[in-house]
């Protein structure tokens, strides 16, 4: 187990779990079907990947892609693997990995809270950041909230609603307290003096 981990070895050690590939920008990645997730995860655990780091959900129009990162402290070259799976939008459930890595507990709750992915077999599947009675999953692309402020990138045309708002701010009469006006006056005087 203390040996280095590389792509040739993994086929010998984990023949059933699918093929780990080297992805650009990420490193080692293993993509599996939703039903194979638990099997793949336990295979990774047996292969020495003992530190669970996070699970990230990405909301696409018809599915939510989950990316787990697990790290091996036992391998000599200290390597991490991204475990990827996909769940359909109409049935966002997936097996929980808490039984394999207890550290997955809060991370899975976070993903449930913000993306609405239900992890089957999790001991306490409840919201972790948002209040318990919150409606909706904020990180979904169709989540609507008036308080979300979309900043423009300076290149595109400004959205119509934004323009109205901005104008409203500009046309509002600017109230400067008298004391401040004096200060401003003084500052200007000082400028002209010098």
């Amino acid at each position: 187990m203390n040996e280095e981990f590389n792509l040739e070895k993994q086929e010998k050690e984990m023949p059933e779990q699918g093929k780990i590939v080297l992805e650009d920008g990420l490193g080692y990645a293993l993509s599996v079907e939703r039903k194979d997730l638990l099997k793949a995860a336990s295979g990774l655990k047996e292969a020495g990947f003992d530190l669970f780091q996070f699970v990230a959900g990405v909301d696409y129009p018809d599915s939510i892609k989950l990316t787990y990162r697990v790290f091996s402290s036992k391998r000599k070259n200290q390597i991490a693997v991204f475990l990827k799976t996909e769940v359909p939008k109409d049935d966002p459930t997936v097996d929980s990995l808490v039984s394999i890595w207890p550290a997955a507990d809060w991370h899975e709750r976070e993903t449930f809270d913000l993306l609405g992915v239900d992890f089957v077999g999790h001991p306490n599947m409840s919201r972790i950041f948002m209040p318990g009675d919150w409606v909706g999953y904020p990180l979904r692309k169709d989540y609507a909230d008036d308080r979300i402020i979309v900043m423009d990138d300076g290149k595109k045309e400004k959205p119509a609603a934004k323009v109205e708002k901005a104008e409203a701010v500009e046309t509002a009469p600017e109230k400067v307290p008298e004391a401040h006006q004096e200060q401003v006056q003084e500052a200007e005087d000082a400028k002209t003096d010098s």
Partner: protein, 398 residues
């Protein structure tokens, strides 16, 4: 024998510091005969030791805490959603507000990932500047940790000595970027401005001063008899448990796992710099506290070498517009932040704004180990265990 040599020599036997954990660490076992009715105490979010807005329900039996139920989310701002509505450059200031005790390293982790995503090369001088300010930030953050560890044991005087040193670091940071807490110094492709004249000399002077203070305060706090008696052997955690519950950073290294991203997954110019990964053995309160002191010394070594090696040249890659479109794809980048493995996982869809930004905050991972770690300990030790995990709630809740 210096601290470093001590660590090296004692690496041979993993039995470690010769601390008998069983005798005094496990408070629950020896006192089962005098159990009484449990009391549920609400801890936080406005408790002096809550380190921000931590809330937990402590079930205490006399002085022994039998169950901890953490409740988080009081500082949740959903930065991940905000990031989706900002351009890549516009999101940098938000990273300052995550782990507000070590903003530089947050900046760094984010811009590192974006550079990876967009395939941007960073000039060498900028890399060295990043290493120097990053390590200074780590020192500042660990100094804050040591102050709080001291205050939680009732030693309020070392507080000022550590904060005096941190103040010098903040002055240095004010010199490079004008801000003292939320720096917004890193840019995609470099840093916002070159170092001012004489800044490196000032840093050298500061390092000399810091070395002296660290020796002094080590005697005052970490070497204090009462402090040791309070901390050594209390609330220990095995390496296996630490990995199981997802600890990273100094807390994991205190358990003896030499996982440091600067060595495990080298970034920037760290491969050219000679330093050691500090480890300890028991991951008890004292190990988690004293490893920070060791790391400050390693950071000082790194800064000294970086100052020697820093070349002249530009500090920002040329031709990077404020708004740009990286190719569709995904990237993961992480740095060794002062609390552990701080990672960003960014998915791009080819537009000017990221499609998804996942922030992997080390405090979040570390905090969830608290119940497993501290249940069955004395109330006072649980507070210390929480303190020595060094969580910052801007990062837990994000």
């Amino acid at each position: 024998m210096s601290k470093l040599e001590e660590i090296k020599t004692s690496e041979v036997s993993l039995d470690g510091l010769g601390v008998d954990i069983s005798s005094n660490g496990d408070a629950g076992e020896s006192r089962t005969d005098i159990r009484s009715e449990e009391l549920a105490i609400n801890f936080g979010p406005q408790h002096p030791s809550a380190h921000g807005v931590f809330r937990a329900i402590f079930h205490v039996d006399g002085e022994v805490v039998t169950k901890i139920e953490p409740k988080i989310g009081y500082l949740h701002r959903c930065f991940e959603k905000i990031a989706e509505n900002r351009t890549y450059t516009q999101f940098i200031p938000y990273t300052d507000r995550m782990d507000y005790v070590s903003s530089m390293l947050n900046n760094w982790a984010y811009v590192l990932t974006v550079e990876k995503l967009a395939g941007i090369e960073v000039p060498e001088r900028a890399e060295y500047i990043r290493v120097i300010v990053g390590e200074l930030q780590r020192i500042a953050s660990h100094l804050v940790f040591l102050t709080t560890a001291g205050v939680e044991t009732g030693a309020v005087t070392p507080y000022m000595y550590y904060f005096d040193e941190r103040e010098q670091i903040l002055n240095l940071f004010e010199g490079v970027c004008g801000a003292r807490l939320t720096y917004n110094y890193m840019r995609i492709g470099g840093v916002s401005a070159d170092l001012p004249d004489g800044w490196l000399e000032d840093t050298k002077v500061f390092l000399k001063r810091l070395a002296k203070t660290m020796d002094e305060t080590d005697k005052l706090l970490l070497g204090n008899y009462i402090f040791k008696k309070r901390m050594i052997g209390m609330v220990p955690f095995t390496a296996e448990d630490a990995l199981k519950w997802g600890l990273t950073g100094p807390s994991l290294r205190a358990a003896g796992v030499p996982y440091d991203i600067r060595k495990a997954d080298p970034y920037s110019v760290y491969p050219r710099i000679d330093f050691d990964v500090c480890t300890r053995f028991n991951c008890d309160n004292y190990d988690r506290a004293s490893i920070r002191s060791d790391e400050i010394r390693q950071s000082m070594r790194i800064i000294e070498q970086a100052i020697e090696q820093i070349p002249d040249g530009p500090v920002k890659a040329e031709g990077i517009p404020k708004v740009f479109k990286p190719a569709a794809g995904e990237a993961y980048g992480h740095v060794e932040a002062s609390r552990g493995d701080l990672g960003f996982y960014i998915v791009s869809d080819g537009t000017t704004k990221p499609y998804r930004v996942k922030i992997q905050g080390p405090s979040f991972g570390n905090l969830q180990a608290l119940p497993a770690m501290a249940e069955g300990s004395y109330f006072g030790d649980v507070i210390l265990a929480f303190g020595t995990l060094d969580t910052v709630f801007g990062e837990v809740d994000r």
